[in-house]
């Protein structure tokens, strides 16, 4: 109970800080917008091509944007050593990680929500009928990206060459999420709009496994 209470307090802090600075969401939105628009202008895909390549391009953009967004996640806590203050204030350090995961997932989902209509217009893809299923896939994929990303961000923040380390470690680790999310999204954007439960199940299993690992090894990730 104390864990969830502390995670809630810390999530509120994350949201308040982001609301004031608007650094993470702005950067991420602009990055994904650039990728989506530039890709559309460069290849000028037809509707069929969009359905085939669009999901992969979209999830690659989400992944690179997430690695940008996750970079400052723990670096911010090191500027004034606030991470030490948090570690000395919460009994279970998983509360710190859980709050970060929730905040990052919310930021990424918000970005996706803002970019989805632009993607639909530029790539001439109908999404209105599949919105609930698409939301489910985006949620499962985003949680996977953010759970793994938060863990790697905590590790890389204490290392030398930290700016390089995060994408180097994160992107290979997220290959399964990229494949599963892309396949699930592609199946939804296909003409028969199928929700692939096998890929969705894979994503949910990935989320649960990595969240459990974060819970088990959280203390070691935050140690100096």
């Amino acid at each position: 109970m104390a864990l969830l209470q502390n995670a809630g307090v810390l999530l509120e802090k994350e949201l308040r800080a982001e609301l004031r600075s608007r650094e993470l969401v702005t950067t991420t939105v602009v990055f994904i917008l650039m990728v989506v628009v530039l890709f559309s202008f460069t290849f000028d895909p037809t509707s069929v091509e969009s359905r085939r390549f669009g999901p992969g391009m979209l999830w690659l953009a989400f992944l690179f944007a997430a690695s940008l967004m996750l970079q400052p996640c723990f670096l911010r806590e090191q500027v004034n050593d606030t991470l030490s203050a948090l570690r000395l204030s919460v009994g279970d350090p998983f509360a710190i990680l859980l709050a970060k995961v929730c905040a990052n997932t919310l930021f990424l989902l918000l970005t996706e929500l803002l970019l989805l209509p632009i993607f639909a217009v530029l790539y001439n893809v109908a999404i209105r009928d599949i919105l609930p299923s698409l939301a489910l896939v985006f949620f499962a994929g985003s949680v996977g990206v953010c759970v793994t990303g938060t863990a790697i961000s905590a590790i890389s923040a204490q290392a030398r060459m930290r700016e390089l380390l995060l994408p180097l470690l994160l992107l290979p680790l997220l290959t399964p999420v990229l494949i599963a999310s892309t396949e699930a999204t592609a199946a939804l954007l296909a003409e028969d709009h199928v929700l692939r439960w096998d890929w969705l199940g894979f994503l949910l299993a990935f989320d649960v496994i990595f969240l459990t690992a974060l819970w088990l090894f959280g203390e070691y990730l935050l140690e100096e």
């Binding site: 502390n6 600075s21 004034n80 606030t82 030490s84 000395l88 204030s89 140690e223």
Partner: protein
């Protein structure tokens, strides 16, 4: 106060901390008893900061054990019992002074946070700036807020790493008065200092560190004043 029969508030047993080949702490054996006020002296790089961070459970020792009030996980024990002031402010610059304190009060599970925040901010002379973002504060104001944050949950053990850093003369007087009050209330304190000062004058015991080892302890006969002045020279 220093009764040998009482359990130590903080205990180091054969503690070593190594960073690669560098020993930050070597063979530290130390018992800090409840109510003691210990000044930790030593030159830059002598291991004072590492010793305080190991005591708070922020840094895991390479060898040996640290216990706080008999509890073997110092970080968990420090959460409940210790207040820590480090080299950095440990404050969120994008939050106001009050939001910072409220955040840590809620994490410590303080129910009377509302009234207590006003009191502690008033004590620190920051009541009028309670709604200002910390990034607009001067170094001295930040340090006052840092100290207030560490005292918020009324810790029984205070670990302070050069707490007077950035404070002006009235600030140092305020800090000395605050520590004096805590000392009278029976709070155990371990702080690092550079030389003799108004803060180090509060010490009932002094230790000198050199190259990570405790080389002088006023409890073992060495003079407190000479330990502090030697370290400051």
């Amino acid at each position: 106060m220093n009764s040998a029969s009482a359990p130590p508030a903080l205990r180091f047993e054969n503690v070593e901390k190594r960073y690669g080949n560098l020993f930050a702490l070597r063979q530290v054996n130390l018992n800090v008893f409840a109510g003691e006020t210990i000044a930790l002296a030593g030159r830059n790089g002598s291991g004072k900061t590492t010793l305080l961070r190991v005591a708070a459970g922020l840094v895991r020792p390479s060898r040996g054990t640290v216990t706080i009030d008999g509890q073997s996980d110092p970080r968990v024990a420090a959460c409940q019992l210790a207040g820590f002031v480090g080299h950095q402010t440990m404050l969120y610059e994008e939050l106001t002074a009050e939001e910072n304190l409220r955040l840590f009060a809620r994490l410590h599970g303080l129910n009377d946070a509302g009234s207590r925040l006003g009191t502690v901010l008033g004590d620190a002379g920051l009541l009028e700036r309670r709604a200002s973002l910390v990034r607009t504060f001067s170094r001295g104001m930040r340090q006052r807020l840092t100290i207030v944050r560490a005292l918020l949950h009324r810790p029984a053990l205070l670990l302070l790493d050069e707490p007077a850093t950035g404070l002006d003369v009235p600030g140092i007087a305020w800090l000395a008065e605050t520590l004096r009050r805590l000392q009278a209330a029976g709070c155990t304190m371990l702080f690092s200092v550079h030389g003799a000062s108004e803060i180090s004058a509060l010490a009932t015991r002094a230790l000198r560190l050199e190259a990570g080892a405790i080389v002088a302890d006023s409890q073992s006969g060495a003079n407190t004043t000479s330990i502090l002045s030697l370290a400051g020279s």
